[in-house]
Symmetry: C2
Subunit: 394 residues, 2 copies
């Protein structure tokens, strides 16, 4: 059996960028992947400016706590100051440019306005309360790297640099196909023997949440011709194909036969629970991942194994998921496969969901994350374990 880290690594090795560059407005940029280094076209702030509401003056001009400086100008944010007259002070507000000649700002709380001007009761250090030009970002500085997935603050930064559009990779189109003749669709009445299709909606929801464009090709009916037709459609309309079900070695299923016929197919047994059977290959050059059929296996393998490969195909530079340390509030025997256990974080530690069956999708809803239990390693209550909150996979 293949180790989990080996499977992830092999998928990453085989991945490459599948999408072109386009430009997007700031209002649609969150979650998109930068297609180029973002280089600042300007200094931020663009000029020395006041960090406070107060008075700008020349430090050497301070007349002592009892002396006064006449007020020579009033500078609000957005206005352009004149040079500071000798031995005077300028009323200034937060964000306003400091006038040429002033080297210090004193906050208004340390001053007293008088009929003649302003009394500076406490002398600040020279240069105090001035934000220097380029202090935040310098012109020419690379502020974000190609392959970075844009967060709200990154969009704010781009705006602060005057950029209204950003170069991003087109959204990866992921075609999804669920297999299984026993599947009824939600909203229909299930006939005896049928179960409701959850994988189709689970894949759609997770892939959409990741920002991919999902091409939902529904359920493949179990004939070679039907599967071949939908696979050709998937290869023609998407950048990536993800299926659920039908990848166990013993299973009768046309997906495997069609993929092998139209492209190439590797069937892996990954030493992971849930999720042992896993397929990888391509259909007429379009990469293909075949997830297992049980809903929890679909969910876990999508998060733990397929995610990195999909994000790499989308152009993302860093696809790692960071575990945090947690305290196990449960004990568990060692197992031969690496397990991804559904847990919930509580005041007393990470609690285990009672039913860890790969069919019990409710376990993933009850939980707020996974604990990775390495193969051959028991967990005792109180142990420090690797906890992967579901949010870490976003």
């Amino acid at each position: 059996m293949m180790r989990v880290d080996e499977a992830i690594e092999r998928l990453l090795q085989a991945s490459h960028l599948r999408v072109e560059t386009e430009r997007t407005g700031l209002e649609n940029a969150v979650g998109r992947v930068l297609a180029d280094d973002l280089v600042s076209p300007l200094d931020v702030p663009p000029a020395d400016n006041s960090a406070m509401d107060g008075y700008a003056f020349r430090h050497a001009d301070w007349p002592g706590p009892d002396g006064e400086l006449p007020l020579s100008q009033r500078i609000t944010a957005g206005s352009v100051p004149g040079a500071l007259s000798a031995a005077s002070a300028a009323r200034i507000f937060t964000g306003a440019e400091t006038p040429p000649g002033a080297d210090t700002v004193v906050m208004q709380e340390h001053c007293e306005e008088t009929a003649q001007g302003v009394r500076i009761l406490q002398r600040p250090a020279p240069g105090a309360n001035i934000r220097r030009r380029g202090q935040d970002v310098r012109q020419g500085q690379v502020v974000l790297r190609r392959g970075h997935r844009l967060r709200p603050q990154d969009v704010g930064l781009a705006a602060s640099l005057g950029l209204a559009e950003l170069p991003v990779y087109r959204r990866l189109k992921v075609a999804t196909i669920a297999t299984g003749d026993e599947l009824a669709e939600p909203g229909e009445k299930a006939r005896p023997g049928q179960i409701y299709n959850s994988n189709r909606y689970l894949m759609h929801a997770q892939l959409s949440a990741w920002g991919f464009e999902v091409v939902d090709l529904g359920v493949a009916r179990d004939t070679f011709d039907a599967v071949e037709a939908v696979m050709r459609q998937a290869a023609a309309s998407a950048d990536f194909i993800v299926t659920s079900g039908g990848v166990s070695v013993g299973e009768e299923d046309h997906v495997k036969g069609v993929v092998a016929r139209l492209g190439a197919l590797d069937l892996w047994k990954i030493a992971v629970k849930p999720g042992k059977p896993f397929a990888f290959g391509h259909v007429q050059g379009t990469p293909f991942i075949g997830l297992p059929g049980n809903p929890v296996s679909v969910f876990v393998t999508l998060l733990v194994i397929a995610r990195g490969c999909l994000f790499a195909s989308q152009g993302a530079a860093d696809t790692r998921v960071r575990a945090v340390a947690g305290r196990a509030a449960f004990s568990r025997r060692e197992t031969s496969r690496e397990e991804y256990i559904r847990v919930r974080s509580t005041a007393s530690g990470l609690e285990l969901y009672s039913n860890q069956s790969s069919g019990a999708l409710f376990s993933t809803c009850w939980s707020d994350g996974l604990v990775r239990q390495p193969s051959g390693m028991a967990i005792e209550e109180g142990d420090t374990v690797e906890y992967l909150p579901f949010q870490a996979f976003l």
Copy 2:
């Protein structure tokens, strides 16, 4: 000054549900807030079924490892089995219903098919490899609570229960207004004295990422009449109003005057850095939050202080953000206000961004989270600190 936890608590106390219920299809459900408890209409699985590809039989019928059982039927997933004939076995596949009369499934790896039937080489325990009806979810069970924010796995679960639509709260409409006469818009050429508007885009990006419907009312020009007009528009078109800038006590700004005139205004000084000045109130009954003006203050107060109140207004039941323990790779003096320091997680611990100024938005882009430094408490390198990855705020 008001403590951070007190500010959060006061906002939560004053919050109440601002939106009606609607129904959404599964494909648009992620991120939405459930408006009703989700009760399962059925048992999952709906009938006893096989967890394996193998053979279903009556445990008492086992003829020993050398004996054989004739194969009386073949049951694939989705088909309806007949009752099991006496002293026979049924070929069965994963997910297929077990036939009445069979109480055990043996995996195919432990069997050998013969000309006459099947030899069961290893006798499993009675009841083995059968998933019982209702084992995952029972009919009538509350699987998700009102106020839960739907994740991909929750959508998968709803599908598995046959539900094509879910009752959710309408998206909260949040009107945003940036203030400041010094602001140029990205894509324009900034005149001398101007800086680019980042708060408008930062607020839009963060509020959209949270699933709110943003009503972007742009920048309020600094006259009483202009501000009054935009505030009336905000109150009429949105469920919540968020502004940036102009809430310091000393600042000249019409937002405060207009809010006080049209509704009610509280100006708070919160013992937090960045983000001390903060306003709360309402405009003609529509709740109002006035964030500070510096971009980092906007970002931090939006995440740490405003977020819970906004989500409570959206109907979310649990608005807490969970910190994780991290190791400080830096030292920092104690301060009088609680600080939210921008840090990056590395192999040697949490590293501090060099410029923690509230004007330096780049600090939030360099970082992957915040460290909460309580007031009056120094941090020494190696200390365990409260780390809030940005993903925890999603």
